[in-house]
């Protein structure tokens, strides 16, 4: 995966480049908005990471220009501004995800990978399958090994999100934002409890667990074969 990192803080940029490389990705760096825009125009990126405050051309303007030229490369915005309004502004400018500083690298990685693998809007999938687990988005039915599983509406959405990102790490914050539409940080780790409930419904009694905990990051649903 090729990632463009537009970040003016040299140390942060180098840290991201090194970390992404360790995870098997290639990252190029741009130290200011104009260089970033020029590199982004060259194309060929899977994801662009843009800091919101940049010298010469700020992050939001960069994204607006890029989107204005028809580029659809997924963009992750990094910002020290994390309030509701800031996030809305960032997404309105054309960003696909918004991450507030300070962030955990695992969180950033999970989001970058989720963005890169995100299907385009027109190729909407109606049915997800992982191993013998199947989720039908139209009939809202979930089966494992042909056996019907009854899920609460929220559990269904949780599983749906996990399956859409199958094979990818999904962080607790990502789940809270995408399944519950909450951007605050609950004091108790409520997500863990919901996951363990879901796990007891889809994995309990089956030889091969599908829903895995990724230590220090979050969760992942995958067929144990890979």
């Amino acid at each position: 995966m090729r990632v463009l990192v537009v970040e003016d803080d040299r140390e942060t940029a180098l840290f991201l480049q090194r970390s992404l490389k360790e995870n098997g990705h290639v990252a190029d760096l741009a130290g200011d908005g104009e260089t970033g825009l020029a590199l982004a125009r060259e194309g060929g990126w899977d994801v662009i990471i843009v800091d919101r405050m940049l010298p010469r051309l700020d992050g939001l303007s960069l994204i607006e220009k890029l989107r204005g030229e028809g580029a659809r490369t997924p963009v992750l915005i990094l910002s020290a501004l994390g309030e509701v309004d800031d996030r809305v502004k960032g997404l309105r400018a054309g960003g696909d995800d918004y991450l507030t500083k300070p962030y955990a690298y695992t969180e950033l990685l999970a989001r970058v990978e989720a963005l890169a693998r995100r299907p385009a809007p027109e190729e909407q999938v109606t049915r997800y399958t992982i191993g013998d687990l199947a989720l039908d988005r139209l009939s809202h039915k979930v089966t494992r090994g042909g056996q019907a599983i009854t899920l609460q509406p929220r559990e269904f959405r949780l599983l749906e999100y996990l399956m859409r990102n199958a094979g990818q790490v999904v962080t607790r914050t990502m789940l809270l934002q995408n399944v519950w539409d909450y951007y605050f940080d609950p004091q108790t780790n409520v997500i863990d409890v919901h996951i363990s409930r879901l796990r007891s419904k889809i994995d309990k009694g089956f030889a091969k667990p599908l829903l895995h905990t990724v230590r220090g990051s979050g969760y992942m649903i995958r067929d144990g074969a890979d």
Partner: protein, 479 residues
């Protein structure tokens, strides 16, 4: 600046003087105009009367010649308060009349018809007096002068003028006096306000501007200044409290963070120990970030910066969504979550913030609930929504140890943790964040006794923060 110059420079004094000046000028103009018109009218009347008299005397002359004219004149002279008459022959000698000679003013046409004459030395009205008259030629070389005394009229006009002058003078003096009195009264009150604001500027923020109790403009002004001062004082106190508490709540984990890193470095256990130390350091850093974010959010809410993102939302959905989020947590803790969220209520609010506030209340309720009781029944945390007039109330009640009456106000302040929860990161900010959210929405948070347990009541106005006009929307007892 002396007291006098201060007085003269004062607005009420200058206003009074200006007002008086305008009044005096207007009065002088009116009196002058009226007396001028009255004088002109009286003079015209006198001249008309004279013309009539001359016509009558001419008729006498035509009827009986000079003797008859003389007789008529003599007859008229005899009457009290008569006109002035003088009949001269061709040589200018007096033939009849009560004037001794032709007044020189009448001989010269340029002087007009006003002349002065000497009244006989008998009685009070003696002396030179003013009159109007007209000399006319009568056939036979005779000259007839008929005049009318206007001295009384003149005296009256003079007296009137004097009275007017005196009145104006008196009015001016009274006006200036009143101006001084009013200015002093107003100045005294303004000075009190000035004095109080100086004291406040010099650091005594608890001081307030005295009110006269009359409820007038100055009182109203002072009252809203006082309200402003109260708000500033509150903010200043809050700021001081924040810096004190930041010192405590950020320095403590920072110290722990540093200690962990130091201990890991010293540890002879090698890579495994370093790794363990780093993991703990990261956890510590994450807690710090949480605390810091909560602090920033509270500061931003108190600044009212998120007020624009209010929208109509369904409170029932908000409450049941949060309840749904926490239901498994409660169950894991051995608690029942009882939710009552009737639909049909409306609310203008920021969904994210209100959700977070409710989540904090529920989180607290779960944490503080005692999950086991002696009779073996499960404890219940109740979440309920209800309408209360123009507001909605979201009630989160638990059966935990509750909060003692004297601690309830404190519990809503930033950073305050009731002793048992000291070690939990960020927990101290939970309730104060709820208070800040309530305040941003123009509502309040009340802590009540659930006998036993704590009942937190979040009150939010249905129509959003704009509907609350009073400056004091602070939670009751947050001062």
């Amino acid at each position: 600046m002396t007291a006098l110059t201060r007085l003269i420079a004062s607005i009420p004094f200058r206003l009074t003087v200006a007002y008086m000046g305008a009044f005096v000028v207007a009065a002088a103009l009116i009196v002058g105009f009226v007396s001028w018109r009255a004088n002109a009218l009286l003079t015209t009347r006198a001249v008309e009367a004279l013309s009539a008299e001359i016509t009558a005397l001419r008729e006498q002359f035509q009827a009986g010649g000079a003797p008859r004219l003389i007789a008529a004149i003599n007859e008229r002279i005899g009457e009290p308060g008569s006109n002035l008459y003088l009949l001269l022959d061709a040589t200018g000698r007096k033939v009849a009349g009560n004037l001794s000679m032709l007044p020189p003013e009448l001989a010269d046409a340029a002087h007009g018809r006003v002349f002065s004459y000497l009244r006989g030395s008998d009685g009070a009205g003696a002396g030179r007096r003013l009159a109007v008259g007209e000399p006319v030629a009568v056939r036979g070389g005779l000259t007839l002068v008929v005049g009318r005394d206007i001295e009384d009229q003149r005296q009256f006009a003079l007296t009137m003028g004097r009275v007017a002058l005196w009145s104006v003078g008196l009015l001016s003096v009274l006006g200036v006096g009143a101006g001084i009195l009013i200015s002093r009264a107003v100045l005294a009150r303004i000075d009190a306000v000035t004095e109080a604001s100086r004291k406040i500027m010099s650091g005594d923020l608890s001081r307030r501007i005295p009110l006269s109790g009359s409820g007038d403009e100055l009182d109203r002004l002072s009252d809203s200044l006082n309200a402003m001062l109260a708000r500033i004082e509150e903010l200043m106190l809050a700021l001081r409290e924040v810096s004190d508490n930041i010192a405590h709540d950020l320095k403590t984990p920072l110290t722990r963070l540093r200690n962990r890193a130091e201990a890991a470095l010293r540890d002879p256990g090698g890579a495994a120990a370093y790794r363990d130390g780093l993991v703990k350091t990261l956890e510590e850093a994450d807690d710090l970030i949480k605390t810091f974010n909560a602090l920033l959010l509270i500061a931003r809410l108190e600044g009212g910066a998120v007020a624009e993102s209010m929208a109509p939302i369904d409170p029932a959905a908000i409450v049941s969504d949060v309840a749904e989020l926490y239901e498994p947590v409660a169950e894991d803790a051995g608690l029942d979550l009882a939710v009552s969220a009737p639909s049909g209520l409306s609310l203008v609010a920021n969904r994210e913030l209100v959700s977070q506030a409710i989540a904090n209340l529920v989180d607290n309720a779960i944490k503080y609930s005692v999950s086991e009781t002696t009779d073996g029944r499960r404890q219940t945390v109740e979440i309920s929504l209800r309408g209360a007039g123009t507001s909605i109330e979201i009630v989160v009640a638990d059966r935990g140890p509750g909060v003692a009456l004297q601690d309830r106000k404190r519990a809503l302040q930033r950073f305050v943790r009731l002793e048992k929860s000291r070690s939990r990161p960020g927990a101290g900010l939970g309730l104060s964040l709820v208070a800040a959210v309530a305040r941003l929405h123009g509502g309040t948070i009340r802590l009540e006794d659930n006998a036993p347990g704590l009942k937190a009541v979040l009150v939010l106005p249905s129509s959003g923060p704009g509907a609350v006009s009073a400056p004091h929307v602070a939670p009751a007892g947050l001062h």
